[in-house]
């Protein structure tokens, strides 16, 4: 059971991370790429760490695994926010399929002040 859980979490995590990498590769613009990493990437690494917790089921190790997961989940969205915001400041190219952008207009306004 432990082995199975470990293997499952490991594999799922690895697959998610691969997915994140693939997303990073395939998505057309910064914002969409970030969708991939901030979700799949964070969850993937979280799961893999969880696999460690499952493998050992020792309190000390579990605690550390949880700490890693908490930190990842706390930091990933903030980092994504920071990068996206910075991207707007410097003006990234958006995918041509983007429907609308309420932020950009205000941003330009704000900057021109």
């Amino acid at each position: 059971m432990t082995n199975f859980l470990t293997a499952f979490f490991l594999f799922t995590g690895a697959a998610l991370m691969f997915l994140a990498a693939l997303g990073l590769l395939r998505m057309p613009d910064l914002l969409t790429r970030m969708h991939a990493t901030s979700k799949a990437g964070a969850l993937g690494s979280g799961l893999m760490v969880f696999a460690v917790a499952a493998a050992y089921s020792e309190p000390g190790i579990t605690a550390r695994a949880v700490a890693v997961m908490v930190f990842i989940i706390m930091t990933a969205p903030v980092a994504a926010h920071a990068i996206a915001r910075a991207g707007y400041v410097v003006g990234i190219d958006k995918w041509e399929g983007t429907i609308k952008d309420d932020f950009e207009d205000e941003f330009k306004e704000h900057n021109s002040e």
């Binding site: 930190f71 706390m74 930091t75 903030v78 926010h81 920071a82 915001r85």
Partner: protein
Amino acid sequence: MSSYSLIIRTATAIMVPLLLLFSISLLIRGHDEPGGGFIAGLVASSAFSMYLFAFDADSTKKFLKVNSRILMGVGLLLAMIAGFIALAFGQEFLTAQWLYIALGNLGTLKLSTPLLFDIGVYLVVLGTVTTIIIALAKSEDA
């Protein structure tokens, strides 16, 4: 001047104490597990770097409360004192000294010069990195 980002500031406010806590944990257990004064000091420094990015140099300075150069000096002195303690026992400089204080049910409190030394390391690393980043950020603001 700093970018005003509510989200980053809020996250920083949560992360900084966590990081500091973590750093002290690394410091204390460093003799037995990965960690130690350097690593702990660096983690603490990254907490302050984070604070600096979220706020600005002056508030980081205030947050630190002690002048960072003096912090370095104190750290250096602590580390040296840790070395000199051995001389009082007629041993070579930097020879480790251990003191066990029994606390009844609470277990034993282990005090040692290596720990004191590591605390010195911690303070120096913290002082160093904060000195550098605050000075740089200030010049950037200027």
